[in-house]
Symmetry: C2
Subunit: 369 residues, 2 copies
DNA sequence: CTGTTAGCGCTTTCAC
DNA sequence: GTGAAAGCGCTAACAG
C-alpha cells in the first residue's frame, strides 16, 4: 500500500538490520536451527515476511560449493516430442533433489553443442544430461569436464567413460521389421539416420537382422540416410519410392522420418506399408496400418536423471560407468473398421491377416504422451 | 595422458599460480585488457589451456550483480507441443544475449507454480516468462518479485502490471466457428478450458460471437469446461455427444481437447465436424475435415523473450506494460481425395461444399512445427 | 543462544 | 602493466 516499489532484492543484511540481529542469526533461523530462541525466530521471520526476503541461492551455492544447483540438459531438437518428453522426465527427477534444469538446444550441431557444454560448465551445473549430436564425445570426457558427471541419452559413450541410458534400438527395430515380413513384405525400404549416430547404426543393424532372419537379401537401393527432419524425410522417401521396382514397405528410423514418410506415402497414393521407431500421438487415428516401436521417453529422462543424481547427491561419486537399456514394445495400429485407405500388404498379400492376434488388442494402447 | 583425473574445477587462482601472476592479471587477460603485455597474455593463456580453466560464471555473476544470468520459463505442460515450441523460441532469443533458460513445469497447478516462481527468484533469474496456471497473478506482481521483470504468455495480466504476449484467441475462434456455421452447422458444441483461464474465456467469447453473428442461440448443454488433458477431454466429448439432440459440430478450445475430441468422435463413428484452437502435426493427414486456428508458438516465445530482454539488457527498465497480440490464421484440412470416412456436414449438408475456395489451397500449409 | 571472522571465485577500485 | 585490498551474499568454524 505505502511501500515504494523495490528496485533491488533485499539481502540477509537487510533482514538482520530490521530484526536487530546478525546475519548469522538470520541464516540460522532460515535453517531452523533449534538453538535459536523462539522469540528471536519470530522477530526474524517477521522481518523476512515484511521485506519479502528470499535467500540468494546463487551466493549460497557458491559458498557451499554446489555450483549452480542445476543440471544441464542438452537436446538435439526440442521440436521433436521425444526430447520435450525427455525434458519432462529429467525435470521431474531433478526437482525432487531441489535442482533446476538448464535447458539447451544443440539443434544437432556439433560445434553448437560444444559451446553449450562449455557454457553449462561455466555456470557450474552439477551434472549434464545430453543426447550428443554425433559420436564425437571427446568434449564430454571426464577430463574435459573436470569430473562433472555426464549421462548420455540414446547413445553409448564412444571413447569416453560415462553413464548412458539407451533404448533397445536393435531389438525393437528387428521385431517391427519382422512383423512387416510376416505380412508378406520382402522389399522393405529403410529411412535411416545419419550413419554417425549410434542409434541410427543400431536400428539399421536391427533392420538387417530381421531381413537376414527371414533369408531376405538386403538391397542397397532401398536404404537412405537422413537428417531427422520431416520435410527432408518426405523428399527422401519420394525419391526412394521412385526407384524401379520400389519397396512395398518402409521402416522409418525415427519420429521425424516417420512423419515425413507418412506424408510422402499418402501424397503418392502408394500402397506402401509403414513401420517406424518412436510411437507418436495420433498414430492410432491415421486410419492406416502402421507398426511402431514404442517406449517411454519420460521414463528415459527420469532414468537419466537418476543415474546422474546418484553421482551428485550423496557422494557416490566414482561408481563404474553404467549402461541402462529401456525396453521397447512393438505396437500395431490399424484402421478401426478394417477399411484400408492405403491398402498395405495386409490386404494385398491375403493370408497373414487373420493370424495377427495382438492387433485389435493393441490398437489403442494408453498413449505415452 | 599423464595428468590424473581432476576432482575439482580449477579456479583463477590455480591459473594465476601456474602463470606466476596475480588473479587480477588473469581476470584482465580473460577480458582481453589491452594494458597487459602480449608476453603475459601468452603465459596466462597457456596456463588456462593447460588447466582447462573455465571461468566460474556463478561467482562472476554474483560479483557483478547479474543474478544467475538466466531467464526463468514456467510452462503449464511441457508434454503439450505448444509449450515445447514456446521454450524453443525463448531459448533462441535468450541465447543471443548469453543467457540460459531455466525451465520449470507447473503442471497447471497454482501452488506448484508459486513454489517454482519462488525457486527461480531464489536463483536470481534476470526475468521470468510464464504462462500462468490461473488468473490469480498476485504472486507475479512487481512487488512480490522485487522488480524482476515478468512476461505473461497467452494470458493478460490480471490485477498486476506486466508485459504479455497474447494470441488472438477471440478473432481466431470466431472465424473458425464462422466457418463451421457456413458449412451449415447450427448445433455446435464447445469443449472449453477451465473458466478461470483467460484464454478459455476469450475463446468462449469468440464462439458465442460467431453464433450471435449468425443469429444462432447458444445452447448451454453444448458447452463444457475441461482441464487440458487428452483422456479427460475424450470422456467429456463422449458425454457431450450423448445428450439428446446432440451437436453436429464441435469446437475444441485447444490442442489437448482437440485430440481428445478426435478420439471420441472417431470411436463413436459419429459424423461430427471438428474445429479447434492450435494447429497440430498430422492434422492434414487425418483424412477427415478439420478446421484449426493456427499461429506460431516459436515466434510467441521469441516475442516474449524480446519483451523481457528489453527490460533486462541495457537499462530500459521502467517502460510501461506492453501487450503484444500475435495473429492467427484459420486453416482448413480435408481428406486428400474427398473421401470422407467420418463424413462431416461438409457432405451431409450438401450445399456449402462448393463455395469453399481456401480449402484445397490451404490443405498443406507449411507445418509450423 | 548469538556474534565475529574468514572465505567461496570473481571483479572493482585504488595503488605502485 | 600489474598487484593488493575489499566486497558481491552467504555460511562454516570458532568464540563468548
Amino acid at each position: 500500500m505505502t511501500t515504494p516499489p523495490p528496485r533491488s532484492v533485499p539481502t540477509m543484511r537487510d533482514v538482520a538490520a530490521l530484526a536487530g540481529v546478525s546475519t548469522m542469526t538470520v541464516s540460522r533461523v532460515l535453517h531452523d536451527d533449534p538453538r535459536i530462541t523462539e522469540e528471536t525466530k519470530r522477530r526474524v521471520r517477521a522481518a523476512v515476511r515484511k521485506l519479502g526476503y528470499l535467500r540468494n541461492d546463487t551466493a549460497r551455492n557458491l559458498r557451499i560449493g554446489r555450483g549452480a544447483g542445476a543440471v544441464g540438459l542438452v537436446v538435439n531438437n526440442l521440436a521433436n516430442p521425444f526430447y520435450s518428453q525427455l525434458a519432462l522426465g529429467v525435470g521431474q527427477a531433478a526437482e525432487q533433489q531441489g535442482l533446476t534444469v538448464m535447458l539447451a538446444n544443440s539443434a544437432g550441431d556439433d560445434e553448437r553443442e560444444a559451446r553449450l557444454i562449455s557454457d553449462l560448465m561455466s555456470r557450474r551445473v552439477v551434472g549434464i544430461i545430453i543426447s550428443p549430436a554425433s559420436d564425437e564425445h571427446s568434449h564430454l570426457a571426464a577430463r574435459a569436464l573436470h569430473g562433472t558427471p555426464v549421462v548420455l541419452v540414446a547413445r553409448p559413450p564412444s571413447g569416453i567413460d560415462a553413464d548412458c541410458v539407451l533404448v533397445d534400438d536393435f531389438a525393437g527395430t528387428r521385431e517391427a521389421c519382422k512383423r512387416l515380413i510376416e505380412r508378406g513384405h520382402t522389399k522393405i525400404g529403410f529411412i535411416g539416420l545419419p550413419s554417425t549416430v549410434w542409434t541410427g547404426a543400431e536400428r539399421l543393424r536391427g533392420f538387417r537382422a530381421a531381413l537376414a532372419d527371414a533369408g531376405i537379401r538386403s538391397d542397397r537401393r532401398y536404404i537412405r540416410y537422413q537428417e531427422s527432419d520431416v520435410a527432408a524425410a518426405e523428399k527422401t522417401v519420394r525419391s526412394l519410392l521412385a526407384v524401379s521396382d520400389p519397396p512395398t514397405a518402409l521402416f522409418a528410423a525415427n519420429n521425424r522420418n516417420m512423419i515425413g514418410a507418412l506424408r510422402a506415402v499418402s501424397r503418392a497414393g502408394n500402397p506402401v506399408a509403414l513401420a517406424g521407431f518412436d510411437d507418436f500421438e495420433l498414430a492410432d487415428m491415421l486410419d492406416l496400418p502402421l507398426i511402431v516401436v514404442s517406449y517411454d521417453p519420460v521414463g528415459l529422462g527420469r532414468e537419466a536423471a537418476r543415474l546422474l543424481l546418484e553421482r551428485v547427491v550423496p557422494g557416490d561419486a566414482d561408481l563404474p560407468p553404467r549402461r541402462v537399456t529401456v525396453p521397447t514394445t512393438v505396437v500395431e495400429y490399424g484402421p478401426p473398421t478394417g477399411r484400408l485407405h492405403l491398402p498395405g500388404v495386409a490386404t494385398a498379400d491375403g493370408g497373414g491377416t487373420a493370424s495377427r492376434p495382438g492387433r485389435q488388442a493393441s490398437r489403442r494402447r494408453a498413449p505415452v504422451r
